[in-house]
């Protein structure tokens, strides 16, 4: 089994598995946060419900942290080896029918910025200013207030938009790639999968984008 984990094929399964966990997470995270568009109380109550379930929170956070660390370290090891395997780049890059998508060629770049984003995002929100509010008689953290504070600053909004667009590209390639890595790809699925990956990416990123843009342009 150690041979498997060290092989290029085995590490693709690891990239895929850890990517899949985060694919699920970003979809759920996006969906939950959509509440901000409708009711600040509902949004705060939702956040409160999540942090109140301590065992579940612990499991979820541990899984997310571990899978992220594994995804990133495996990405680094594969990227280093892949660069070494290509002796030199060509003087001319292909165009036309033999070219490839920008997203597929720049997974490492997108990932690196996504990683910076995740870290800063945790500092801004999870470990950010702690306001309080009362919803239905329960005292809880007022994350909505913090969100309004953050997303009324143009710099933050631009940073979020840029990172989310990179996430969109990462997903547009990753969601389709994972099927090939896992060996699920079949001839008749090929065209449909690319469309599916783009739809997935657009739903996640479109949803996420609506939140800061709503706060910036409509809420204030």
């Amino acid at each position: 089994m150690l041979d498997f984990l060290k092989s290029t094929v085995g590490r693709k399964y690891i990239m895929g598995l850890t990517g899949l966990v985060w694919m699920g997470f970003v979809l759920a995270h996006m969906a939950g946060n959509m509440l901000i568009l409708f009711s600040t109380d509902a949004f705060n109550a939702y956040g409160h419900a999540i942090v109140s379930n301590k065992p579940l929170l612990f499991v979820a956070e541990t899984v997310l942290l571990l899978t992220l660390i594994v995804h990133v370290t495996t990405a680094i090891s594969l990227t280093i080896e892949n660069r070494a395997a290509k002796k030199s780049r060509y003087a001319v890059q292909p165009t036309g029918v033999k070219s490839t998508s920008w997203a597929s060629r720049n997974m490492g770049f997108q990932g690196s910025l996504i990683l910076c984003f995740i870290i800063l995002h945790l500092i801004t929100f999870k470990y950010g200013a702690h306001y309080e509010t009362t919803v239905n008689g329960v005292v809880m953290r007022d994350l909505a207030k913090l969100m309004f504070e953050v997303f009324t600053q143009p710099g933050y909004v631009i940073w979020y938009v840029v990172c989310l667009i990179l996430l969109m590209f990462h997903l547009s390639h990753g969601v389709h790639s994972v099927f090939q890595s896992f060996g699920f790809l079949e001839r008749k699925m090929q065209a449909g999968l690319k469309t599916f990956a783009w739809i997935y990416a657009l739903i996640v990123v479109g949803g996420f984008l609506s939140q800061p843009l709503y706060v910036f342009f409509i809420h204030q």
Partner: protein
């Protein structure tokens, strides 16, 4: 295409004396090239001129010139085997190019494919991958009547499509990671689809992937460059099949046991 007017091209060709020397681009003119000529015929004519001047001709690999042996291949403007899909460079015709075009010719780039000279690279890494498991060990005797071994049509079709690989190396050359996944997977899936090959499919998947990694090819990142450049249009589904064959073989790895018969 009716346009039979000859064209003139400028070629920027990678010249390198041997594996260890430094290479550089050298420019050549290809004058009055017939649109009916193949790319290699055009190069032959350029070489004639070079020889007349007393210089060393450009080295490139070729053999059948029919698109079936897998010997030929280099990059034209960043495209492995040139701009046309599903074509080897020997079957690429000059009608695909415009008068006055400048073409950059480079050898395959991969650590596992050292440059031998000019546009020729050493592809013996592929031979070693094949020797590690790309065969069947049973003696099938002389050719049997084709229908005596029943194989479902869809499996036979897939096996044929995978078997079309000619081992040219364009997949490695076009891949930004110099991954040999398409080549290796074509052989693994070709044999796994057939009853004669299926008995050894686990060992084959394990050994061939191990050899592919040992040769220093990179990992697949599913860019699809390989399949787009492949003259035989080998499908990415072969890579998916290789991955699941490899996963299954890794999990169910069997050991040879003492007392199991002399075998």
């Amino acid at each position: 295409m009716d346009n039979k007017k000859p064209i003139n091209l400028t070629l920027k060709v990678w010249r390198q004396q041997n594996t260890n020397s430094d290479g550089k681009f050298v420019e050549y003119d290809a004058k009055t090239v017939s649109p009916d000529a193949s790319f290699l015929e055009m190069l032959d004519a350029v070489n004639e001129e070079i020889i007349k001047k007393g210089d060393e001709p450009i080295s490139f690999d070729h053999d059948c010139r029919e698109g079936i042996c897998g010997s030929c291949g280099f990059m034209i403007n960043g495209n492995a085997h040139g701009p046309q899909k599903g074509t080897t460079i020997c079957q690429l015709h000059m009608r695909n190019f415009k008068d006055g075009e400048k073409l950059v010719l480079e050898p395959w780039s991969a650590k596992a494919f050292p440059i031998m000279k000019d546009l020729m690279v050493d592809r013996t890494a592929f031979d070693r991958i094949i020797s590690s498991g790309g065969f069947i060990s049973t003696n099938t005797g002389s050719a049997a009547e084709a229908n005596s071994t029943p194989i479902p049509k869809p499996d036979a079709d897939e096996a044929f499509l995978s078997a079309a690989c000619i081992g040219c190396g364009a997949c490695v050359a076009s891949c930004k990671n110099a991954s040999a996944a398409l080549f290796t997977s074509a052989k693994i899936s070709h044999l796994a689809h057939l009853p004669q090959g299926a008995v050894e499919k686990d060992k084959r998947a394990l050994d061939m992937v191990a050899q592919m990694d040992a040769e220093g090819f990179g990992a697949c990142t599913s860019t699809g460059a390989c399949s787009a450049a492949c003259p035989k249009e080998i499908s990415l589904i072969n890579i998916a099949k290789m991955n699941r064959e490899y996963l299954r073989a890794s999990i169910t790895k069997k050991q040879e046991m003492a007392g199991g018969g002399e075998g």
